[in-house]
Point group: C2
Chain length 206, copies 2
């Protein structure tokens, strides 16, 4: 869907200068900021370019459409999971609940990745394009890798119910900020939630 | 916060006619429709009035501010829980997980209440006023009633983690629509989720 190469609208003169990586990173940071604060619909490529101090054409040059900027800006949040070789989804099934739960708090407690995740949630609930990106990331890239490790016929449903526990914590703790959950120590939550994730994922009956 | 009586901006001539209950219901239905489709920020009292076929002044007459219309329009979704005497939150602790999970699917599978719940979620993630309404409803009215039944020091945190499991299912099944969860039979989900809710709420170790 969005796998086509970014459209090139001419080539800004400074796009391939020594400054290019810095400009690219500034655009991604500005995009995360804009999408997380305003959601997908209210964010514009022009606004991202302005916040990054570059021309809109440079944003299009690096990333293509608004949808592609959105996708690139949030992939950083999934990068650690996708690149962690065998350590989370593909590690031994024993302990997968705690590894996933710790990974979840790792990305949410980190301000940079939290912005990307807030951008996804704020955007996906109100915009179908953003929801599609979210669906694709969550199902194709994460859930299926976890589900592939499970030796049960309803592996995908199990993986999604585990994901639902974590998505719900994200909603109540980081988006809606319901107390005492919003201020609770992550370790206190992990202690309660890791066994739930483990139970969802494995055939273990509660 | 929003407990003040609705402001009265004059009294529309037909406000207290025999047609009043019907007009009031039409306004609430239109408000649910508008808030669930567009979210809190993009919804206006004028738009609700237009959809209900009444004058904006009548909306203000019955409900007051936009925040108060929002609150009234979503309370219907919480009504069954709040008015169910002792049957869910205040019933015996044994089986509370299944009762809460069944209640959850009851309101989400019902098109009328689902609209109210979608309105809350779509609005609360992007608007602080709506988030405050959501926080107040979820914590003051539901979680505390459940938590009050639990005989543990971390009862509120437990109740919120249980709520997080259900909120996450709402996000993935009804808002983002991730498969296979979005199309799964509610009974199949209840079978897996009720024990998780029970485990969160009771001292039962997984």
């Amino acid at each position: 869907m969005t796998s086509a190469a970014p459209r090139r609208r001419g080539r800004p003169s400074h796009a391939d200068s020594a400054d290019a990586p810095a400009a690219r990173d500034r655009i991604l940071a500005a995009a995360r900021e804009e999408f997380s604060e305003r959601g997908y619909e209210k964010t514009s490529v022009r606004g991202i370019a302005k916040a990054a101090g570059v021309d809109s054409a440079l944003v299009h040059h690096y990333f293509g459409t608004k949808e592609q900027v959105f996708e690139a800006s949030i992939e950083v949040a999934f990068g650690p999971l996708l690149s962690a070789p065998g350590s989370i989804a593909e590690g031994p099934l024993d302990g997968v609940g705690e590894r996933l739960t710790r990974f979840f708090f790792g990305v949410w407690e980190n301000p940079a990745t939290r912005k990307a995740l807030l951008a996804i949630i704020r955007s996906a609930v109100n915009n179908e394009v953003a929801a599609t990106v979210f669906r694709r990331l969550i199902s194709a890239q994460i859930l299926r890798r976890v589900a592939a490790q499970l030796d049960t016929p309803d592996a995908e449903l199990r993986a999604e119910l585990a994901a639902a526990q974590l998505v719900g914590i994200a909603m109540l703790r980081y988006v809606i900020k319901v107390e005492p959950l919003a201020s609770a120590n992550p370790e206190q939550i992990i202690e309660r939630v890791a066994p739930v994730i483990q139970a969802h994922l494995t055939a273990h009956r509660l």
